[in-house]
Symmetry: C2
Subunit: 290 residues, 2 copies
């Protein structure tokens, strides 16, 4: 362990993700890159990121909204961005990595904010290490064995092709509807990801991207998990027209996780929480603060 | 300029690409990574690599075959693998980078061995800086404005999708026929690329890959170059069934480059020269040695 955020209490509090310093911690032979912001001392909120995503893929409006009152930590999965090692070929292994990373930082209890693949990883983590997680936010995601999750590969490659042909960011196709509202929201989202201008992360590698896609397909074709094992307060959110992880799977999660809250945003896709960040960021902050 | 291979004449001669040291040279704010092998002192052979390729993408059977008697230098394009900077969005800019790299190493005359995108870059380089290149080998490539080069994007994404679904390397689909001979040749080629076990290069980033693809499409839709400006002895080679850069474009290059030699291998695709490395490596070495 090379550093612990708990030892840095003399530093000024950063509350803008664009300015959050990138740190590293090495454990079990893997160096994890992470960024942290917000006031320290209480239970941190760990952000679990999506397919092909690095530290530069979090919407600052959502991170900043939560970091006003909470210690937020975003990290690069193993083999992604500035984290070393090989990209794991299963969601279970990614959950083991998340556990390794969190405990290496010295935390015994955390809240989890997860999006898409991150939400799959978070579910596996919570089921295996229930005591580690206090509250859970699952966005744009679905359960192990969820119907049509295994179609993500075709959708993803098709949208990357469309985006490449139109010189756009693939996320504009993958995360947002192709109507006026969605196109505008997509452009704005992509622009927000560029607000950080210094110390940006390394791009996702093509090979690791393919490995992550395969891991998601495998997760989609797996035996379902027993979601009654998730007893944490859980907030579930998505757009109503998610083509990557079908929106109906958010309903499914809601039915199977007792006491969970569900928010489905209209006229939006996989990136519904980013399109509706004005509403969602305070909602998530309030849920975590309760 | 941080180093020059000409100053390293006291080192032992490496003739195996798997053992070639990786070096860097910094010029115009870009650090280029390269590997060199073979006896130094005479005109070097510079290898121009393909789409999405790093230093780890050269078939050692072909490199080694030429490095027995020639100083071989392979390099990472700007923004690819261990070379720094942004991936250029045009083939012209890649050719300018190649010129910058070669002249930074202190060479006034080189031979060029180019494959696929590398062959497009090489043509632009030769047309702009004719005096720099003595002999030219163009493999699996086509001319600026070549018919159907702009279809490469669909073919490439489709084959990456197929490869991801079947847990194969995309090059097995993109470079080889899907018959018994091609499948076997593809597996063997991919295995040969793994012969180097230490000091391997960084993977191609997804974003840079997309930028390169767009550059190739733009090249395919450009006004043709005047290939009569290529007066260098030129060897052209390809498989007879290239789906990425149609084989007929090798014929076209042959018609338009005066005095060029053409070799088309049967029952093979874009990676025909790798499938027929037993024949092609000595042929290329002989052509360069004439």
């Amino acid at each position: 362990m090379s550093t612990s955020p708990r030892n840095n209490s003399d530093e000024p509090v950063v509350t803008s993700y664009a300015l959050a310093p990138t740190r590293t911690i090495t454990t079990d032979g893997v160096t994890y890159a992470y960024r942290e912001l917000g006031p320290k001392g209480d239970i941190p909120v760990i952000f679990f990121v999506h397919l092909a995503a690095t530290l530069d893929n979090w919407d600052p409006r959502i991170v900043d909204g939560i970091a006003q009152n909470r210690h937020v930590i975003a990290f690069d999965n193993r083999g992604v961005g500035a984290s070393t090692g090989e990209v794991p070929d299963s969601v279970e292994a990614m959950a083991d990595d998340a556990y390794t990373f969190i405990t290496a930082l010295g935390f015994e209890t955390v809240d989890v904010f997860a999006f898409s693949l991150g939400g799959m990883v978070a579910q596996d983590l919570v089921i295996k290490h229930s005591q580690l997680v206090r509250k859970l936010i699952l966005t744009g995601t679905g359960p192990r064995g969820g119907k049509d999750i295994d179609k993500i590969m075709g959708v993803t490659y098709w949208d990357i092709l469309r985006a490449t042909l139109t010189r756009s960011d693939p996320k504009e196709f993958l995360f947002f509807n192709r109507n006026t509202t969605g196109r505008k929201a997509g452009k704005q989202f992509v622009a927000r990801l560029k607000e950080r201008t210094v110390d940006r992360d390394q791009d996702m590698a093509l090979r690791g991207f393919r490995t992550q896609l395969k891991a998601i397909v495998k997760y989609g074709r797996s035996t379902p998990s027993d979601l009654t094992l998730i007893t944490q307060p859980t907030l579930i959110a998505n757009g109503d027209n998610d083509r990557m992880v079908p929106s109906v799977l958010s309903e499914d999660l809601h039915q199977r996780i007792a006491g969970s809250e569900l928010v489905i945003y209209p006229d939006s896709g996989h990136g519904g929480i980013f399109q509706y960040h004005d509403e969602f960021a305070p909602l998530a902050a309030e849920f975590l603060g309760k």
